[in-house]
Amino acid sequence: MEKKNIQIDYNDIVIHVDNVSKSFGDLHVLRDVDLKLYNEENLVVLGRSGTGKSVLIKLISGLLRPDKGNVNVLGEVVNELDERDLRALRQRIGFSFQNSALYDSMTVRENLEFPLVRNKRNLTRAEINKEVEEVLEGVGLSQAINQMPSELSGGQRKRIGIARTLILRPDIMLYDEPTAGLDPITCLDINTLINEVQERYKTSSIIITHDLACAKMVGDRMVMLLDGKFERQGTFEEIFDTDDERVRPFYDYNFIV
């Protein structure tokens, strides 16, 4: 499915990673990185494994704190928020994990209800059911409502993981390696779903990946993490229009040149 052209307002910033550094012991993962995400934009973050892509979205969601700099999300400085305010902000951020992170002791219905009943306590049973069914229909898995996560395929688990984040109607979506470990056809389905989410829910998204087909299909803009910094930014063509030895193999491997 072709990605629809979405008009992005480049004055409307929803995330600003401002001069952030993060280290783990002697390992300097991010060095003074600066990144902006604009409203309703799909931003792809490319980079080799272990370059700090997942650390970046964990900083944005407040799972990690930066050593230096600030992370601004929807007008709030994430690293300065107390627990209560951070929890309120997180309701506006959807996080799709690489391994889906479904609660394996709960059915699909219970997985989807979990964030809903705990964040919107005034909902009636009928309203909860309606929300769950609606969001499941949105990811095309209505029939899986009573299944356990262990009974689902990798692609289905990804979809349910995305549905669980969408149930709170977030403004921002963070996708951590959405197509990792999936076959090409399921990858296409997931990429299409990411685009559908952007159109239907008007979300702004950061997609972490090293799958260039995914990047090309879903990204409005791309950045590439190299040695702890965003060295390259632009469209897919702009990123790979280079002879940089750290960048070319990415393209060559993905497109088997």
Partner: protein, 252 residues
């Protein structure tokens, strides 16, 4: 040496933060009643078969082993009094705690650790849900309430085992046995049993949750967490037993 002290201090700080976080979430609404009941079922009801067998065997064997000593003095008629005091004051809470450390402690440690490894705890965090309230408070509340219940049950089943051991040799009715048992047990013995059971229950829940929640990543971390949960729970139970014995001796 300096880094070891630093590590120890960091560990104490983490323990303190974990405890404060538990206390805050345990008393503040909204409450996770449904999950507490589910945990009580998992921890309490599902431990009944193992606890029943262990409690019965402990009562039976303890009585059998005590008989020869009393026989030397021709005091076998004191057996019901002796075993009732021993079971209620010490054996029931200790046996329950040790069995629960193995069964419940390893279960909690492995479960939380595997949730940690598969990022399920992070998923709760980022969805605006408090994992301490849902995962930790519920389990600690369940162990603190269910271990005393199991302890009463172990005392009952242990006494039954003791009776069957006596009845296999002597002509003693069950009514006469339990009359002698209740005449021997004072209110302070029941208090000592409940105190131990509550303290042990809290300790098993807290230690197991702590090691599971802060386990290292990877499948190896799950095994280590389960093992550490059992070892630390048992170790702490014995230390607490020592302290409670001293405390009760002072109180009288």
């Amino acid at each position: 040496m300096g880094s070891k002290i630093e590590k120890l201090l960091i560990e104490f700080a983490k323990l303190h933060r974990f405890m404060m976080s538990f206390l805050r979430e345990a008393v503040s609404p909204p409450y996770e009643f449904k999950e507490i009941i589910r945990q009580c079922y998992e921890i309490g009801w599902r431990s009944f078969p193992l606890i029943s067998l262990t409690g019965f065997i402990v009562g039976f064997v303890f009585t059998k082993q005590s008989r020869p000593s009393l026989e030397e003095f021709g005091a076998t008629s004191w057996l019901p009094s002796l075993i009732s005091i021993a079971i209620v004051r010490a054996l029931a809470p200790l046996v329950t705690a040790l069995i629960a450390s193995g069964k419940v402690g390893s279960q909690i440690g492995a479960e939380l650790s595997s949730m940690n490894v598969t990022e399920q705890i992070d998923a709760m965090e980022v969805s605006g849900t408090n994992p301490t309230k849902f995962l930790i408070s519920t389990r600690i509340i369940a162990t603190t309430t269910m271990i005393p219940v199991l302890c009463f049950y172990v005392a009952g089943i242990g006494l039954l085992g003791g009776y069957l051991s006596i009845a296999s040799k002597d002509d003693l009715s069950i009514l006469a046995f339990f009359t002698q048992v209740f005449e021997s047990i004072a209110a302070k013995d029941i208090f000592a049993m409940v105190l131990r059971a509550v303290v042990f229950g809290f300790t098993i829940g807290f230690a197991s949750c702590y090691v599971g929640y802060y386990s290292s990543k990877g499948t190896e971390g799950v095994g280590k967490a389960a093992n550490k949960a059992v070892v630390s729970s048992m170790f702490l139970v014995f230390i607490e037993e020592l302290l409670i014995v001293q405390l009760l001796a002072i109180i009288g």
